[in-house]
């Protein structure tokens, strides 16, 4: 296999894996808060986290530049403290993938948590178990199909992320060119052999992930 194709594939899997790790942790936590807690501004929080699902990825990427760019709100503080910027690194690709994948994880997990019978939760409380123990030992295990489906969908979404990644991580060969970006470069430069191979690989992987997600989410989605 072409070394460029191999690098892009490795990078894409690395970005998608790291993204999924953080998306699962953050997504389960946020989904639990949205499903189980009542607080002011809850719908606003839901809209905020869902927004990247409907915004054009370039717009999401633009917001990320405003926030995390060297002169951005958060980026400038990081640069001031460390002299480092996330822009045009593979971490930026993780950040972009994280933001666009998170809504899928939250939506799927929230639906799964809300479908847990309230009697199981009440039973746990009457047996002396705290909210945290109940979430960990009753709610999450019973919602596991939705959580797994959300993780698989998020992984697939991260693997195919293009627009926001291009905005914040750029398309640097051998640095940030994930498979979708490498496909774009190969097609633009007429390297159809590499493009075909990567398109085929991405399609195959997406089919497998969708099959797994469907298998686990039959009762949820």
């Amino acid at each position: 296999m072409d070394s460029k194709v191999l690098f892009s594939m490795k990078l894409s899997l690395q970005v998608a894996s790291v993204t999924t790790f953080f998306v699962v942790i953050a997504g389960v936590f946020i989904a639990y808060l949205l499903a189980a807690k009542h607080f002011r501004g809850k719908e606003l929080v839901d809209i905020l986290f869902t927004l990247p699902l409907v915004l054009p990825p370039t717009v999401t990427g633009y917001y990320l530049i405003i926030l995390f760019g060297r002169n951005g709100f958060i980026g400038s503080m990081i640069y001031e403290w460390t002299g480092w910027t996330i822009m045009f690194t593979w971490y930026a690709a993780v950040l972009a993938s994280f933001v666009v994948s998170l809504p899928l994880m939250i939506k799927t997990t929230r639906a799964a948590i809300e479908s847990v019978d309230k009697n199981f939760i009440d039973a746990s409380y009457t047996l002396g178990r705290s909210r945290f123990e109940t979430a960990l030992k009753v709610i999450f295990p019973l919602a596991r199909k939705g959580i797994i489906a959300g993780a698989v969908l998020s992984f697939a979404r991260a693997l195919g992320e293009f627009g926001a990644t291009l905005m914040i991580a750029g398309n640097l060969p051998g640095v940030t060119d994930t498979m979708p970006l490498a496909i774009y470069s190969a097609a633009s430069s007429g390297d159809w052999k590499s493009a075909n191979m990567m398109v085929l690989l991405l399609t195959l992987m997406s089919v497998v992930f969708l099959y797994v997600a469907n298998k686990y989410s039959k009762r949820i989605i």
Partner: protein, 248 residues
């Protein structure tokens, strides 16, 4: 040293306004669906907060609106058996029972669990999932789980409603035996008058969010107003032929 409650709650156009007191006895909340029986149990257990009132158990205040006291359900020491039993489907029988052993050390929890499983004749099922055991066995597991912490009271929300008649009779006998072993106040919700008379030391009849009548089964049946009460009992599901049998 029993249970003393006064509860007032408005919820979705329905108003619950009840006040009663029991000792260490078997009390049955009887009435039709929607009379507020299950709501009462949930408020005693702390799963729903009353608007106004109090809940005292064995002299301890669990809820008192005057002093703004509301002990969370985890701290109330109520054994609660739900209508659908709520056995955790992802845990084996033994794990379900041990889940109720919060605050006990490992050996004590294991000892109590073994003891309860032996007494309730479910020891052989310890590694079965709830989906693999029968309705009657599930009932026993739910009771064992509710009792492992040795609660101050036992709250039973129509636990036999899904069982067929022979199994109901068997479970009533089981409940009587269990009651004689665990000397705690028991509050059972039912809309089956025959079941209420069979089990109760005291029947508390609910009607549309209020207490309509309280007394021992014999007192209620002997009451001159019983004939008038029969028209109300007639409205309650599962009544019909059973009251006729009691009369005879």
């Amino acid at each position: 040293m029993g249970l003393d409650i006064s509860l007032y709650k408005k919820v979705n156009g329905f108003t619950l306004d009840v006040k009663w007191k029991i000792g260490k006895e078997f009390a049955v909340l009887f009435g039709p669906s929607g009379a507020g029986k299950s709501l009462t149990l949930k408020m005693i257990a702390g799963l729903i907060r009353p608007d106004i009132g109090y809940v005292f158990s064995a002299g301890n205040a669990y809820f008192d609106s005057k002093s703004n006291l509301n002990i969370p359900p985890q701290m109330r020491h109520c054994g609660y058996v739900f209508q659908d039993l709520a056995l955790f489907p992802h845990m084996k029988v033994r794990e379900n029972i041990l889940f109720g052993a919060k605050g006990l050390n490992h050996d004590e929890a294991a000892g109590r669990c073994e003891d309860l499983m032996k007494r309730f004749q479910i020891a052989a099922l310890h590694d079965k999932m709830p989906s693999e055991i029968s309705g009657g066995q599930k009932q026993r597991v739910a009771f064992a789980r509710a009792l492992i912490r040795r609660p101050e009271m036992l709250l039973l929300d129509e636990p036999f409603s899904a069982l067929d008649t022979p199994l109901r009779v068997e479970m009533r006998a089981f409940l009587k035996d269990m009651r004689s072993e665990f000397n705690v106040p028991v509050v059972l919700v039912t809309h089956d008058f025959a079941e209420a008379c069979d089990l109760a030391d005291n029947i508390i009849i609910y009607s549309n969010g209020n207490v309509m009548k309280t007394g021992a089964p014999a007192e209620i049946i002997a009451d001159p107003e019983y004939v008038a009460l029969q028209s109300y009992l007639n409205q309650c599901a599962g009544y019909s032929s059973r009251v006729l049998n009691l009369n005879s």
